[in-house]
Symmetry: C2
Subunit: 309 residues, 2 copies
Protein backbone atom coordinates (compact mmCIF):
# COMPACT_ATOMS: atom_id res chain seq x y z
CA UNK A 1 0.00 0.00 0.00
CA UNK A 2 1.41 3.38 -0.98
CA UNK A 3 1.52 6.28 1.49
CA UNK A 4 -0.64 9.28 0.60
CA UNK A 5 2.38 11.59 0.45
CA UNK A 6 5.10 10.42 -1.85
CA UNK A 7 7.59 13.06 -0.67
CA UNK A 8 7.77 14.80 2.69
CA UNK A 9 9.77 17.99 3.20
CA UNK A 10 10.62 19.47 6.60
CA UNK A 11 12.01 22.99 6.36
CA UNK A 12 11.27 26.69 6.34
CA UNK A 13 8.55 28.80 4.78
CA UNK A 14 9.55 32.45 4.67
CA UNK A 15 8.75 35.86 3.31
CA UNK A 16 11.78 37.05 1.35
CA UNK A 17 12.73 40.59 0.39
CA UNK A 18 15.43 40.35 -2.25
CA UNK A 19 17.27 42.86 -4.40
CA UNK A 20 19.36 41.76 -7.39
CA UNK A 21 20.86 43.76 -10.28
CA UNK A 22 17.74 42.76 -12.23
CA UNK A 23 15.02 43.95 -9.86
CA UNK A 24 13.61 43.40 -6.42
CA UNK A 25 10.84 41.58 -4.60
CA UNK A 26 9.27 42.47 -1.25
CA UNK A 27 7.88 39.88 1.16
CA UNK A 28 7.65 37.31 -1.62
CA UNK A 29 7.13 33.61 -0.88
CA UNK A 30 10.45 32.03 0.07
CA UNK A 31 12.04 29.44 2.33
CA UNK A 32 13.66 26.07 1.65
CA UNK A 33 10.44 24.05 2.00
CA UNK A 34 8.58 26.36 -0.40
CA UNK A 35 11.11 26.10 -3.23
CA UNK A 36 11.60 22.38 -2.69
CA UNK A 37 7.89 21.55 -2.48
CA UNK A 38 6.91 23.47 -5.60
CA UNK A 39 9.84 22.05 -7.56
CA UNK A 40 9.17 18.47 -6.41
CA UNK A 41 5.40 18.83 -6.98
CA UNK A 42 6.15 18.82 -10.74
CA UNK A 43 7.14 15.17 -10.34
CA UNK A 44 5.26 13.65 -7.38
CA UNK A 45 2.86 14.31 -4.53
CA UNK A 46 4.44 16.43 -1.79
CA UNK A 47 3.60 17.04 1.86
CA UNK A 48 5.15 19.83 3.90
CA UNK A 49 5.99 20.10 7.61
CA UNK A 50 6.83 23.71 8.45
CA UNK A 51 5.56 26.68 10.42
CA UNK A 52 4.19 30.09 9.46
CA UNK A 53 2.92 33.02 11.54
CA UNK A 54 -0.60 34.39 11.71
CA UNK A 55 0.38 36.97 9.09
CA UNK A 56 1.10 34.37 6.39
CA UNK A 57 -0.78 35.51 3.27
CA UNK A 58 -3.63 33.16 2.33
CA UNK A 59 -2.69 33.44 -1.36
CA UNK A 60 0.63 31.64 -0.66
CA UNK A 61 -1.26 28.87 1.10
CA UNK A 62 -3.60 28.70 -1.88
CA UNK A 63 -0.61 28.51 -4.22
CA UNK A 64 0.76 25.46 -2.38
CA UNK A 65 -2.67 23.83 -2.42
CA UNK A 66 -3.23 24.50 -6.10
CA UNK A 67 0.04 22.65 -6.72
CA UNK A 68 -1.32 19.62 -4.85
CA UNK A 69 0.92 20.15 -1.82
CA UNK A 70 -0.49 18.65 1.36
CA UNK A 71 -0.43 21.34 4.07
CA UNK A 72 -1.70 19.22 6.96
CA UNK A 73 1.79 19.61 8.47
CA UNK A 74 1.96 23.40 7.96
CA UNK A 75 1.47 24.76 11.46
CA UNK A 76 0.28 28.31 12.08
CA UNK A 77 1.90 29.64 15.26
CA UNK A 78 1.21 32.82 17.19
CA UNK A 79 3.48 35.58 15.87
CA UNK A 80 5.02 36.61 12.59
CA UNK A 81 6.28 34.45 9.71
CA UNK A 82 10.07 33.94 9.27
CA UNK A 83 11.48 36.81 7.18
CA UNK A 84 14.73 37.13 5.25
CA UNK A 85 16.08 40.21 3.52
CA UNK A 86 19.11 40.01 1.25
CA UNK A 87 20.80 41.26 -1.86
CA UNK A 88 23.06 39.91 -4.57
CA UNK A 89 25.88 41.82 -6.21
CA UNK A 90 26.63 41.81 -9.93
CA UNK A 91 28.61 38.60 -9.68
CA UNK A 92 25.55 36.91 -8.12
CA UNK A 93 27.76 34.37 -6.49
CA UNK A 94 26.53 34.84 -2.96
CA UNK A 95 23.67 36.49 -1.17
CA UNK A 96 24.48 39.22 1.29
CA UNK A 97 22.04 38.88 4.18
CA UNK A 98 20.73 42.23 5.36
CA UNK A 99 18.29 40.95 7.96
CA UNK A 100 16.99 37.66 9.34
CA UNK A 101 13.87 37.62 11.51
CA UNK A 102 13.35 34.03 12.66
CA UNK A 103 10.02 34.92 14.30
CA UNK A 104 7.86 31.75 14.62
CA UNK A 105 10.70 29.70 13.10
CA UNK A 106 12.89 30.25 16.19
CA UNK A 107 10.78 27.82 18.23
CA UNK A 108 9.88 25.51 15.32
CA UNK A 109 9.58 21.90 16.33
CA UNK A 110 8.50 19.59 13.49
CA UNK A 111 5.32 17.67 14.31
CA UNK A 112 4.83 14.55 12.21
CA UNK A 113 1.55 12.66 12.07
CA UNK A 114 1.20 9.01 11.05
CA UNK A 115 0.87 9.82 7.38
CA UNK A 116 4.01 11.98 7.41
CA UNK A 117 5.95 9.23 9.15
CA UNK A 118 5.02 6.77 6.42
CA UNK A 119 6.38 8.92 3.56
CA UNK A 120 8.78 6.90 1.41
CA UNK A 121 10.81 9.96 0.34
CA UNK A 122 12.05 12.59 2.79
CA UNK A 123 13.88 15.88 2.30
CA UNK A 124 15.41 17.36 5.43
CA UNK A 125 15.91 20.97 4.38
CA UNK A 126 18.36 23.23 6.17
CA UNK A 127 17.27 23.27 9.83
CA UNK A 128 19.08 22.52 13.11
CA UNK A 129 20.71 19.08 12.71
CA UNK A 130 19.21 18.07 16.08
CA UNK A 131 15.76 18.64 14.60
CA UNK A 132 16.76 16.75 11.45
CA UNK A 133 17.77 13.76 13.61
CA UNK A 134 14.53 14.04 15.58
CA UNK A 135 12.52 13.87 12.35
CA UNK A 136 14.60 10.94 11.12
CA UNK A 137 13.97 8.95 14.29
CA UNK A 138 10.22 9.40 13.84
CA UNK A 139 10.14 8.12 10.26
CA UNK A 140 8.91 4.61 9.64
CA UNK A 141 10.95 3.21 6.78
CA UNK A 142 11.72 5.90 4.21
CA UNK A 143 13.13 4.54 0.96
CA UNK A 144 15.37 7.55 0.37
CA UNK A 145 16.34 10.49 2.56
CA UNK A 146 18.06 13.63 1.24
CA UNK A 147 19.43 16.28 3.60
CA UNK A 148 20.69 19.84 3.31
CA UNK A 149 22.60 21.98 5.79
CA UNK A 150 24.42 25.32 6.03
CA UNK A 151 27.66 26.83 7.31
CA UNK A 152 25.88 28.12 10.42
CA UNK A 153 25.30 24.54 11.65
CA UNK A 154 28.67 23.24 10.45
CA UNK A 155 30.38 25.93 12.56
CA UNK A 156 28.22 25.26 15.64
CA UNK A 157 27.36 21.55 15.56
CA UNK A 158 29.78 19.79 13.18
CA UNK A 159 29.33 16.42 14.96
CA UNK A 160 25.56 16.56 14.63
CA UNK A 161 25.81 17.56 10.98
CA UNK A 162 28.11 14.56 10.40
CA UNK A 163 25.65 12.33 12.26
CA UNK A 164 22.90 13.45 9.85
CA UNK A 165 25.22 12.72 6.89
CA UNK A 166 25.73 9.18 8.18
CA UNK A 167 22.02 8.56 8.61
CA UNK A 168 20.70 9.86 5.28
CA UNK A 169 21.12 8.42 1.79
CA UNK A 170 22.29 11.58 0.06
CA UNK A 171 23.59 14.79 1.65
CA UNK A 172 23.55 18.09 -0.22
CA UNK A 173 26.26 20.65 0.51
CA UNK A 174 27.51 23.67 -1.34
CA UNK A 175 31.22 24.11 -2.06
CA UNK A 176 32.01 26.14 1.06
CA UNK A 177 30.02 23.80 3.31
CA UNK A 178 31.76 20.72 1.89
CA UNK A 179 35.17 22.35 2.37
CA UNK A 180 34.35 23.48 5.91
CA UNK A 181 32.91 20.14 7.02
CA UNK A 182 35.64 18.04 5.41
CA UNK A 183 38.47 20.43 6.29
CA UNK A 184 39.72 19.98 2.73
CA UNK A 185 39.88 22.58 -0.05
CA UNK A 186 39.86 20.28 -3.05
CA UNK A 187 36.25 19.29 -3.80
CA UNK A 188 36.87 15.72 -4.95
CA UNK A 189 39.05 15.11 -1.88
CA UNK A 190 36.39 16.78 0.30
CA UNK A 191 33.74 14.44 -1.11
CA UNK A 192 35.99 11.42 -0.51
CA UNK A 193 36.68 12.56 3.03
CA UNK A 194 32.94 12.87 3.76
CA UNK A 195 32.39 9.33 2.46
CA UNK A 196 35.25 8.16 4.68
CA UNK A 197 33.49 9.88 7.60
CA UNK A 198 30.45 7.70 6.96
CA UNK A 199 28.31 9.57 4.39
CA UNK A 200 26.71 7.28 1.81
CA UNK A 201 26.55 9.85 -0.98
CA UNK A 202 27.08 13.59 -1.22
CA UNK A 203 26.05 16.13 -3.81
CA UNK A 204 28.32 19.16 -3.85
CA UNK A 205 26.54 22.15 -5.37
CA UNK A 206 28.81 24.58 -7.20
CA UNK A 207 26.16 27.15 -8.16
CA UNK A 208 26.62 28.39 -11.72
CA UNK A 209 29.31 25.74 -12.16
CA UNK A 210 27.06 22.76 -11.66
CA UNK A 211 26.96 19.91 -9.19
CA UNK A 212 28.95 16.79 -8.35
CA UNK A 213 27.40 13.52 -7.07
CA UNK A 214 29.86 11.31 -5.25
CA UNK A 215 29.23 7.89 -3.70
CA UNK A 216 31.18 4.64 -3.60
CA UNK A 217 29.16 3.44 -6.61
CA UNK A 218 28.63 6.52 -8.75
CA UNK A 219 30.38 9.74 -9.68
CA UNK A 220 28.33 12.20 -11.68
CA UNK A 221 29.32 15.67 -12.85
CA UNK A 222 26.48 17.87 -14.06
CA UNK A 223 27.26 21.36 -15.35
CA UNK A 224 24.70 24.08 -14.67
CA UNK A 225 22.29 24.91 -17.47
CA UNK A 226 23.52 28.23 -18.97
CA UNK A 227 20.64 30.50 -18.01
CA UNK A 228 20.37 33.75 -19.96
CA UNK A 229 17.36 35.24 -18.12
CA UNK A 230 18.98 35.16 -14.65
CA UNK A 231 16.86 37.18 -12.21
CA UNK A 232 17.29 35.89 -8.64
CA UNK A 233 19.50 32.99 -7.48
CA UNK A 234 17.50 32.53 -4.25
CA UNK A 235 16.18 28.99 -3.87
CA UNK A 236 18.33 27.42 -6.58
CA UNK A 237 19.67 24.73 -4.22
CA UNK A 238 16.25 23.75 -2.86
CA UNK A 239 14.76 23.74 -6.36
CA UNK A 240 17.63 21.45 -7.41
CA UNK A 241 16.80 19.17 -4.48
CA UNK A 242 13.12 19.18 -5.54
CA UNK A 243 13.91 18.12 -9.11
CA UNK A 244 16.47 15.52 -7.98
CA UNK A 245 14.24 13.85 -5.38
CA UNK A 246 11.13 14.50 -7.44
CA UNK A 247 12.35 12.33 -10.30
CA UNK A 248 13.58 9.55 -7.99
CA UNK A 249 10.20 9.50 -6.21
CA UNK A 250 8.36 9.56 -9.53
CA UNK A 251 10.39 6.61 -10.82
CA UNK A 252 10.67 4.98 -7.38
CA UNK A 253 14.24 4.09 -8.35
CA UNK A 254 17.70 5.26 -7.30
CA UNK A 255 19.99 3.25 -9.56
CA UNK A 256 22.77 4.89 -11.55
CA UNK A 257 20.64 5.64 -14.60
CA UNK A 258 17.91 7.25 -12.46
CA UNK A 259 20.46 9.22 -10.39
CA UNK A 260 22.07 10.63 -13.54
CA UNK A 261 18.81 11.90 -14.98
CA UNK A 262 17.79 13.11 -11.48
CA UNK A 263 20.93 15.30 -11.41
CA UNK A 264 19.83 16.73 -14.77
CA UNK A 265 16.26 17.27 -13.45
CA UNK A 266 17.62 19.09 -10.42
CA UNK A 267 19.76 21.24 -12.71
CA UNK A 268 16.76 22.00 -14.94
CA UNK A 269 14.55 22.99 -11.98
CA UNK A 270 17.30 25.19 -10.46
CA UNK A 271 17.81 26.89 -13.84
CA UNK A 272 14.12 27.76 -14.00
CA UNK A 273 13.85 28.87 -10.37
CA UNK A 274 16.45 31.59 -10.91
CA UNK A 275 14.63 33.05 -13.91
CA UNK A 276 12.18 34.84 -11.55
CA UNK A 277 11.79 36.04 -7.99
CA UNK A 278 10.24 33.54 -5.53
CA UNK A 279 9.16 30.15 -6.97
CA UNK A 280 6.96 31.96 -9.53
CA UNK A 281 8.70 30.41 -12.54
CA UNK A 282 8.48 26.88 -11.08
CA UNK A 283 4.74 27.23 -10.68
CA UNK A 284 4.40 27.91 -14.41
CA UNK A 285 6.41 24.99 -15.66
CA UNK A 286 5.26 21.46 -16.37
CA UNK A 287 6.41 18.13 -17.71
CA UNK A 288 6.95 19.05 -21.36
CA UNK A 289 9.10 22.09 -20.56
CA UNK A 290 11.13 20.26 -17.90
CA UNK A 291 11.68 17.40 -20.33
CA UNK A 292 12.79 19.89 -22.97
CA UNK A 293 15.30 21.58 -20.65
CA UNK A 294 16.75 18.23 -19.58
CA UNK A 295 17.11 17.43 -23.29
CA UNK A 296 18.80 20.79 -23.98
CA UNK A 297 21.31 20.16 -21.22
CA UNK A 298 21.92 16.70 -22.64
CA UNK A 299 22.53 18.18 -26.10
CA UNK A 300 25.10 20.58 -24.62
CA UNK A 301 27.15 18.00 -22.73
CA UNK A 302 26.66 14.81 -24.69
CA UNK A 303 29.35 13.29 -26.84
CA UNK A 304 29.65 9.90 -28.45
CA UNK A 305 32.89 8.15 -27.65
CA UNK A 306 34.83 6.88 -30.63
CA UNK A 307 38.37 5.45 -30.80
CA UNK A 308 41.05 8.05 -31.52
CA UNK A 309 44.35 6.17 -31.64
CA UNK B 1 49.43 15.67 -51.48
CA UNK B 2 49.61 16.22 -47.77
CA UNK B 3 51.81 18.93 -46.27
CA UNK B 4 54.74 17.69 -44.18
CA UNK B 5 53.47 19.53 -41.08
CA UNK B 6 49.92 18.71 -40.17
CA UNK B 7 49.67 21.45 -37.53
CA UNK B 8 51.60 24.71 -37.39
CA UNK B 9 51.79 26.76 -34.19
CA UNK B 10 53.05 30.33 -34.02
CA UNK B 11 53.62 31.52 -30.46
CA UNK B 12 56.06 31.87 -27.61
CA UNK B 13 58.73 29.61 -26.15
CA UNK B 14 59.73 30.74 -22.67
CA UNK B 15 61.60 29.86 -19.53
CA UNK B 16 59.10 29.96 -16.66
CA UNK B 17 59.78 30.32 -12.96
CA UNK B 18 56.59 29.40 -11.14
CA UNK B 19 55.64 29.00 -7.51
CA UNK B 20 52.37 27.31 -6.47
CA UNK B 21 51.18 26.01 -3.08
CA UNK B 22 52.44 22.62 -4.24
CA UNK B 23 56.01 23.48 -5.18
CA UNK B 24 58.07 25.56 -7.53
CA UNK B 25 59.99 25.36 -10.78
CA UNK B 26 62.86 27.56 -11.92
CA UNK B 27 63.52 28.38 -15.57
CA UNK B 28 61.42 25.42 -16.69
CA UNK B 29 60.27 25.07 -20.30
CA UNK B 30 57.17 27.21 -20.85
CA UNK B 31 55.42 29.40 -23.38
CA UNK B 32 52.21 28.98 -25.37
CA UNK B 33 53.87 27.28 -28.35
CA UNK B 34 55.65 24.77 -26.10
CA UNK B 35 52.53 23.60 -24.26
CA UNK B 36 50.46 23.57 -27.45
CA UNK B 37 53.06 21.73 -29.53
CA UNK B 38 53.70 18.99 -27.00
CA UNK B 39 49.98 18.52 -26.36
CA UNK B 40 49.11 18.44 -30.09
CA UNK B 41 52.08 16.15 -30.87
CA UNK B 42 50.15 13.36 -29.10
CA UNK B 43 47.68 13.46 -31.99
CA UNK B 44 49.45 14.73 -35.12
CA UNK B 45 52.67 16.06 -36.58
CA UNK B 46 53.46 19.58 -35.36
CA UNK B 47 55.72 22.36 -36.62
CA UNK B 48 56.62 25.40 -34.56
CA UNK B 49 57.38 28.99 -35.53
CA UNK B 50 58.83 30.82 -32.55
CA UNK B 51 61.99 32.45 -31.27
CA UNK B 52 64.47 31.62 -28.52
CA UNK B 53 67.67 33.30 -27.33
CA UNK B 54 71.20 31.97 -27.50
CA UNK B 55 70.80 30.76 -23.91
CA UNK B 56 67.97 28.32 -24.74
CA UNK B 57 68.94 24.97 -23.18
CA UNK B 58 69.70 22.30 -25.79
CA UNK B 59 67.76 19.72 -23.72
CA UNK B 60 64.49 21.61 -24.36
CA UNK B 61 65.21 21.60 -28.07
CA UNK B 62 65.95 17.88 -27.83
CA UNK B 63 62.65 17.36 -25.98
CA UNK B 64 60.68 19.01 -28.81
CA UNK B 65 62.56 16.94 -31.38
CA UNK B 66 62.05 13.68 -29.52
CA UNK B 67 58.32 14.44 -29.70
CA UNK B 68 58.53 14.75 -33.46
CA UNK B 69 58.10 18.53 -33.45
CA UNK B 70 59.59 20.21 -36.50
CA UNK B 71 61.84 23.05 -35.31
CA UNK B 72 62.78 24.44 -38.74
CA UNK B 73 60.77 27.54 -37.78
CA UNK B 74 62.34 27.93 -34.32
CA UNK B 75 64.64 30.89 -34.76
CA UNK B 76 67.59 31.52 -32.45
CA UNK B 77 68.10 35.27 -32.04
CA UNK B 78 70.91 37.19 -30.39
CA UNK B 79 70.03 37.76 -26.73
CA UNK B 80 68.17 35.95 -23.98
CA UNK B 81 65.06 33.75 -24.19
CA UNK B 82 61.66 35.15 -23.10
CA UNK B 83 61.27 34.67 -19.34
CA UNK B 84 58.16 34.72 -17.15
CA UNK B 85 58.04 34.55 -13.37
CA UNK B 86 54.73 34.12 -11.56
CA UNK B 87 52.95 32.60 -8.62
CA UNK B 88 49.51 31.17 -7.86
CA UNK B 89 47.68 31.59 -4.58
CA UNK B 90 45.77 28.81 -2.82
CA UNK B 91 42.67 29.37 -4.94
CA UNK B 92 44.81 28.85 -8.07
CA UNK B 93 42.35 30.81 -10.11
CA UNK B 94 44.79 33.26 -11.57
CA UNK B 95 48.52 33.66 -11.92
CA UNK B 96 50.09 36.67 -10.33
CA UNK B 97 52.87 37.81 -12.66
CA UNK B 98 56.00 38.82 -10.77
CA UNK B 99 58.20 39.54 -13.78
CA UNK B 100 58.07 39.40 -17.56
CA UNK B 101 61.28 39.66 -19.58
CA UNK B 102 60.30 39.65 -23.25
CA UNK B 103 63.96 39.57 -24.35
CA UNK B 104 64.19 38.14 -27.90
CA UNK B 105 60.38 37.86 -28.02
CA UNK B 106 60.01 41.66 -28.05
CA UNK B 107 61.20 41.86 -31.66
CA UNK B 108 59.73 38.49 -32.74
CA UNK B 109 58.52 38.48 -36.30
CA UNK B 110 57.20 35.11 -37.47
CA UNK B 111 59.05 33.83 -40.54
CA UNK B 112 57.14 31.18 -42.49
CA UNK B 113 58.74 29.07 -45.18
CA UNK B 114 56.84 27.32 -47.97
CA UNK B 115 56.19 24.23 -45.91
CA UNK B 116 54.81 26.25 -42.99
CA UNK B 117 52.50 28.16 -45.32
CA UNK B 118 51.05 24.89 -46.63
CA UNK B 119 50.05 23.59 -43.16
CA UNK B 120 46.38 22.57 -43.15
CA UNK B 121 45.94 23.28 -39.41
CA UNK B 122 47.15 26.48 -37.77
CA UNK B 123 47.16 27.63 -34.15
CA UNK B 124 47.80 31.34 -33.64
CA UNK B 125 48.84 31.41 -29.99
CA UNK B 126 48.66 34.58 -27.94
CA UNK B 127 50.82 37.12 -29.79
CA UNK B 128 50.16 40.65 -31.11
CA UNK B 129 47.02 40.45 -33.29
CA UNK B 130 48.88 42.34 -36.03
CA UNK B 131 51.38 39.49 -36.16
CA UNK B 132 48.54 36.95 -36.12
CA UNK B 133 47.01 38.69 -39.16
CA UNK B 134 50.39 38.80 -40.87
CA UNK B 135 50.77 35.03 -40.41
CA UNK B 136 47.22 34.44 -41.64
CA UNK B 137 47.82 36.42 -44.82
CA UNK B 138 50.87 34.25 -45.58
CA UNK B 139 49.03 30.94 -45.22
CA UNK B 140 48.05 29.13 -48.38
CA UNK B 141 44.70 27.45 -47.69
CA UNK B 142 44.54 26.19 -44.10
CA UNK B 143 41.59 23.89 -43.42
CA UNK B 144 41.14 25.10 -39.86
CA UNK B 145 42.62 28.01 -37.94
CA UNK B 146 42.36 28.38 -34.16
CA UNK B 147 43.44 31.57 -32.39
CA UNK B 148 44.13 32.66 -28.83
CA UNK B 149 44.55 36.13 -27.37
CA UNK B 150 44.87 37.89 -24.01
CA UNK B 151 43.50 40.89 -22.13
CA UNK B 152 46.64 42.88 -22.92
CA UNK B 153 45.75 42.93 -26.64
CA UNK B 154 42.00 43.35 -26.05
CA UNK B 155 42.73 46.49 -24.06
CA UNK B 156 45.21 47.89 -26.60
CA UNK B 157 44.00 46.66 -30.01
CA UNK B 158 40.36 45.52 -29.69
CA UNK B 159 39.66 46.11 -33.40
CA UNK B 160 42.61 44.01 -34.49
CA UNK B 161 41.62 41.24 -32.06
CA UNK B 162 38.10 41.29 -33.55
CA UNK B 163 39.57 41.20 -37.05
CA UNK B 164 41.47 38.02 -36.09
CA UNK B 165 38.23 36.52 -34.69
CA UNK B 166 36.50 37.17 -38.03
CA UNK B 167 39.28 35.57 -40.03
CA UNK B 168 39.81 32.36 -38.04
CA UNK B 169 37.52 29.35 -37.69
CA UNK B 170 37.57 29.09 -33.90
CA UNK B 171 38.71 31.72 -31.39
CA UNK B 172 39.74 30.76 -27.85
CA UNK B 173 39.14 33.26 -25.04
CA UNK B 174 39.01 32.92 -21.30
CA UNK B 175 36.02 34.25 -19.34
CA UNK B 176 37.51 37.67 -18.62
CA UNK B 177 38.70 38.12 -22.20
CA UNK B 178 35.28 37.19 -23.62
CA UNK B 179 33.57 39.62 -21.23
CA UNK B 180 36.04 42.42 -22.01
CA UNK B 181 35.92 41.97 -25.78
CA UNK B 182 32.12 41.57 -25.93
CA UNK B 183 31.39 44.21 -23.27
CA UNK B 184 28.92 41.73 -21.76
CA UNK B 185 29.13 39.97 -18.39
CA UNK B 186 26.92 36.97 -19.12
CA UNK B 187 29.02 34.35 -20.91
CA UNK B 188 26.34 33.00 -23.25
CA UNK B 189 25.41 36.54 -24.24
CA UNK B 190 29.11 37.38 -24.64
CA UNK B 191 29.52 34.40 -26.98
CA UNK B 192 26.46 35.45 -28.98
CA UNK B 193 27.72 38.99 -29.22
CA UNK B 194 31.09 37.79 -30.55
CA UNK B 195 29.30 35.72 -33.22
CA UNK B 196 27.24 38.79 -34.09
CA UNK B 197 30.51 40.72 -34.44
CA UNK B 198 31.59 38.22 -37.10
CA UNK B 199 33.32 35.38 -35.24
CA UNK B 200 32.53 31.93 -36.67
CA UNK B 201 32.97 30.00 -33.44
CA UNK B 202 34.35 30.80 -30.00
CA UNK B 203 35.53 28.61 -27.17
CA UNK B 204 35.22 30.32 -23.80
CA UNK B 205 37.60 28.74 -21.28
CA UNK B 206 36.37 28.79 -17.69
CA UNK B 207 39.43 27.16 -16.07
CA UNK B 208 38.41 24.64 -13.41
CA UNK B 209 34.79 25.10 -14.53
CA UNK B 210 35.28 23.81 -18.03
CA UNK B 211 34.78 25.29 -21.47
CA UNK B 212 31.95 26.36 -23.75
CA UNK B 213 31.99 26.03 -27.56
CA UNK B 214 29.57 28.34 -29.30
CA UNK B 215 28.91 28.66 -33.04
CA UNK B 216 25.78 29.08 -35.12
CA UNK B 217 25.69 25.31 -35.62
CA UNK B 218 26.92 23.84 -32.33
CA UNK B 219 26.82 24.56 -28.63
CA UNK B 220 28.97 22.34 -26.47
CA UNK B 221 29.51 22.53 -22.72
CA UNK B 222 32.45 20.53 -21.38
CA UNK B 223 33.12 20.52 -17.63
CA UNK B 224 36.74 20.35 -16.52
CA UNK B 225 38.06 16.96 -15.53
CA UNK B 226 38.24 16.96 -11.70
CA UNK B 227 41.99 16.78 -11.19
CA UNK B 228 43.15 15.65 -7.76
CA UNK B 229 46.90 15.98 -8.31
CA UNK B 230 46.82 19.69 -9.22
CA UNK B 231 50.36 21.09 -9.26
CA UNK B 232 50.64 24.07 -11.63
CA UNK B 233 47.83 25.57 -13.77
CA UNK B 234 50.33 27.21 -16.18
CA UNK B 235 49.74 26.17 -19.78
CA UNK B 236 46.28 24.64 -19.25
CA UNK B 237 44.72 26.77 -22.00
CA UNK B 238 47.40 26.02 -24.58
CA UNK B 239 47.36 22.31 -23.70
CA UNK B 240 43.57 22.41 -24.19
CA UNK B 241 44.12 24.02 -27.60
CA UNK B 242 46.65 21.29 -28.45
CA UNK B 243 44.23 18.48 -27.61
CA UNK B 244 41.33 20.18 -29.37
CA UNK B 245 43.15 20.95 -32.61
CA UNK B 246 45.21 17.77 -32.32
CA UNK B 247 42.16 15.55 -32.56
CA UNK B 248 40.60 17.56 -35.41
CA UNK B 249 43.88 17.35 -37.36
CA UNK B 250 44.19 13.65 -36.61
CA UNK B 251 40.65 13.00 -37.86
CA UNK B 252 40.84 15.70 -40.54
CA UNK B 253 37.21 16.51 -39.64
CA UNK B 254 35.45 19.35 -37.86
CA UNK B 255 31.82 18.19 -37.82
CA UNK B 256 29.74 18.22 -34.64
CA UNK B 257 30.73 14.75 -33.51
CA UNK B 258 34.45 15.50 -33.99
CA UNK B 259 34.15 18.91 -32.28
CA UNK B 260 32.48 17.35 -29.23
CA UNK B 261 35.18 14.76 -28.75
CA UNK B 262 37.83 17.42 -29.51
CA UNK B 263 36.47 19.48 -26.58
CA UNK B 264 36.88 16.38 -24.40
CA UNK B 265 40.42 15.81 -25.73
CA UNK B 266 41.32 19.41 -24.96
CA UNK B 267 39.91 18.97 -21.47
CA UNK B 268 41.88 15.75 -20.98
CA UNK B 269 45.16 17.34 -22.11
CA UNK B 270 44.62 20.42 -19.91
CA UNK B 271 43.89 18.17 -16.93
CA UNK B 272 47.18 16.35 -17.43
CA UNK B 273 49.23 19.49 -18.07
CA UNK B 274 48.34 20.88 -14.63
CA UNK B 275 49.47 17.73 -12.83
CA UNK B 276 53.12 18.83 -13.15
CA UNK B 277 55.29 21.89 -13.72
CA UNK B 278 56.13 22.69 -17.37
CA UNK B 279 54.78 20.28 -20.03
CA UNK B 280 56.54 17.36 -18.23
CA UNK B 281 53.32 15.39 -17.70
CA UNK B 282 52.23 15.82 -21.35
CA UNK B 283 55.51 14.36 -22.54
CA UNK B 284 54.81 11.18 -20.58
CA UNK B 285 51.31 10.54 -21.81
CA UNK B 286 50.21 8.67 -24.91
CA UNK B 287 47.14 7.46 -26.75
CA UNK B 288 45.89 4.84 -24.30
CA UNK B 289 46.01 7.19 -21.32
CA UNK B 290 44.41 10.08 -23.22
CA UNK B 291 41.68 7.77 -24.44
CA UNK B 292 41.13 6.58 -20.88
CA UNK B 293 40.81 10.11 -19.52
CA UNK B 294 38.35 11.07 -22.26
CA UNK B 295 36.36 7.96 -21.31
CA UNK B 296 36.47 8.90 -17.58
CA UNK B 297 35.15 12.37 -18.35
CA UNK B 298 32.42 10.80 -20.48
CA UNK B 299 31.46 8.48 -17.61
CA UNK B 300 31.15 11.48 -15.28
CA UNK B 301 28.90 13.58 -17.51
CA UNK B 302 27.02 11.06 -19.58
CA UNK B 303 23.35 10.31 -19.03
CA UNK B 304 20.86 8.43 -21.12
CA UNK B 305 17.70 10.38 -21.78
CA UNK B 306 14.47 8.60 -20.97
CA UNK B 307 10.90 9.93 -20.85
CA UNK B 308 9.84 11.19 -17.42
CA UNK B 309 6.25 12.36 -17.80
Amino acid sequence: MKAANEILVVGSVALDSVRTPFGEATEALGGSASYFAISASRFAKVGMVAVVGEDFPPEHRALFESNGIDLSGLETAAGRTFRWRGEYNVELGHAHTLETQLNVFSTFHPKLDDRHRAAPYLFLANIDPDLQLEVLSQMRRPRLVLSDTMNYWIARKPDRVLEVLRRVDVALLNEEEARALAGETHLVRAAESLLAAGAHAVIIKKGEHGALYHSHEERILTPAYPVVALTDPTGAGDSFAGGFMGLLARLDRADGEALRQAMACGTAMASMAIEAFSPARLVETEGAEIESRVRSLHALVHYDLFPMF
